[in-house]
Amino acid sequence: MTDAPLVITENLGRNFPTRQGLMGRARDVWAVRDVTLSVSKGETLGVVGESGCGKSTLGRMMMGLDIPTTGKITFDGRNLAHMPGPERRRLARRMQMVFQDPFGSLDPRRSVGAQVADGLRIHGIVPDQNIKEEVRRLIEQVGLSADAAMRRPHEFSGGQRQRIAVARALATRPEFIVADEPVSALDVSIQAQVVNLLMDLREELDLAMLFISHDLHVVRHLCNRIVVMYLGRIVEEGPVAKVFGTPAHPYTRALLESTPSLHPRNEALGDRVLPGELPSPVNPPSGCPFRTRCPIAEPECAQAVPPLTGPTDTWRAACIKAGPLKHSWNQ
């Protein structure tokens, strides 16, 4: 791990104003709000949260695919948000993305090899005569046989496609990878193959990775640090062992408790169920966004958004009653 983080976001926010009716006023809908985080080389930062918590928007912004409304993203000391097109495209070499849907992330009309070679050509990674060889190396690196390059995506299964997507991302020799739910669409037995592959590559290439997932088991297995998001905001952030072992924020606790486990805990399921549903981002609760479902909410919670402070420098939670609690999930 190097000293300075590779990617830093500061007070990142993304607003998608929606208009209600023809004459209606546009209302702010913040998908992401006040997100400050950093990813260093060789580190995998897991982003967890339920659908609509803004984790995918965060990933897209960090890739420069979406422009933040507020705040800034610094990649290796350079601000990504206001970078002119050509420069941004050059920088694209150093950051790549792996998507969720293995069926939508590959162009059905072009051979796998051509798609892996795109990055090589665009950025002139290797001389033209060596491209074939390099494609073969990449495809073998992700555990497929070299003749895969000649075939079209539809000839592969979901897990194989996801490997191809990884090979394509690796082609430009990136330093930073955003993986948006890369294993959610895969069967359990295949999921493990891809998780193992990502772990190997991280070691081998010293990659910085943002791993977005709703599957807490996978995140815990793969990541060094965790960010828990709720309604666009970070509610807890810290090392895996701390966040999942002794969660400080009541939402993290609820999330862990409601995740089914192979080894059922002693308490009845009913006691672990979090009531209610995610509030609408159009009309979020005042103060702490979680207070409407929080088992330990107090009137004070409605006053202001609790600051993200915490037990230690690297472990922070946005709750006025935050406190590490021994949790049975990670005995």
């Binding site: 929606t18 208009r19 209600q20 009716g21 023809l22 209606g24």
Partner: protein
């Protein structure tokens, strides 16, 4: 719901304005002097003095914006100018002829929907069966035969060979109700045929798709009777895209009336347009095109409103 209708009305008004403006621009920005075009016959050049006089009468000598405002004002007050050919106000001709065209359109739409939807549904349920193949073939054939061919062939069969229906013409309903309906039958049927084909095909495709939907399976899983599944779950949902297509087909339908009125000597608005174009009677052409466009926009509005009533998901924030 009311808000939705209001919203659609605003959009419709905007479209009408767009139509009025584009018709105006089309006529004035295209190279060539309408007055000169009108007065010249073939290769014989027009008398310059006569051209100038006509230009003055048509208001062509005023600045473009002035002409545009006059034109807009005219449209708003119902003054569409006077015909070149006989000097009669264009609006009067339109007022007498529009109902006759509407009559053909409405009759055709009614015939086509009332037969097409059940036929298409039947074909979908029995997809790939013999009956379905027969229905699909005839629908494709009807769709592929231009309306004037159908009209002409229909006259050949019913009027000339079988001699059971008149070949064409018109009597007002008030004078001879039976004769009127007899005369209406062939033109309306001709227009209806291609629309029937479109609706049958569309209903078939739409019902086929709905049959694959999970909610139809849910309805079966509830144990409700076939008839109710068909009515409440299948046809109800399948109608929504069919109606949308009906709206899009209104253009073809109105275009069809142009030819059908010509073929059957039905003195409606569309047939009149052909004569006006032939004679280059610009006030008439503009007036008729505008009326028909407004009618088109209005019919689409009606269909949209029916669609919104059928589909609760349609809301103001669409598009």
């Amino acid at each position: 719901m009311l808000r939705y209708i209001a919203y659609r009305c605003v959009v419709a008004l905007f479209l009408v304005w767009v139509v009025v403006t584009s018709v105006f621009l089309l006529l004035h920005l295209i190279p060539g002097d309408p007055a000169e075009l009108l007065l010249s016959q073939g290769s014989i050049a027009a008398d310059p003095a006569a051209v100038e006089a006509l230009r003055e009468r048509m208001g062509l000598n005023e600045p473009l914006w002035q002409q545009y405002l006059d034109h807009l004002g005219g449209v708003l007050t119902g003054d569409l100018g006077a015909s070149f050919r006989d000097g009669a106000p264009v609006i009067e001709q339109i007022a007498t002829r529009l109902p006759r065209t509407l009559e053909v359109i409405v009759a055709a739409a009614l015939i086509a929907t009332s037969i097409g939807v059940p036929l298409g549904t039947y074909a979908a349920i029995h997809a790939n069966s013999f009956a379905d193949n027969v229905i699909s073939f005839f629908a494709s054939a009807a769709l592929s035969t231009p309306v004037f061919v159908v009209g002409t062939v229909v006259i050949l069969i019913f009027a000339q060979q079988l001699r059971i229906l008149p070949a064409g013409g018109f009597v007002p309903f008030s004078e001879d109700p039976l004769g009127h309906i007899q005369l209406l039958l062939l033109p309306a049927g001709t227009v209806a045929l291609s629309l029937l084909a479109v609706i049958t095909r569309m209903s078939r495709a739409s019902v086929l798709e709905v049959l694959q939907r999970d909610y139809v399976r849910t309805a079966r899983a509830k144990g409700i009777v076939r008839k109710r599944i068909l009515r409440r779950h299948v046809v109800r949902n399948a109608l929504i895209p069919v109606l949308t297509i009906l709206g899009l087909e209104m253009g073809t339908l109105i275009g069809g009336t142009v030819l059908v009125e010509f073929v059957f000597n039905w003195p409606g608005l569309s047939g009149y347009l052909v004569a006006a174009v032939d004679a280059r009677d610009y006030p008439e052409v503009v007036g008729i095109v505008m009326t028909i466009s407004i009618l088109f926009v209005f019919l689409n509005l009606v269909i949209d409103v029916i669609n919104a009533a059928l589909d609760p998901r349609i809301s103001l924030v669409r598009r």
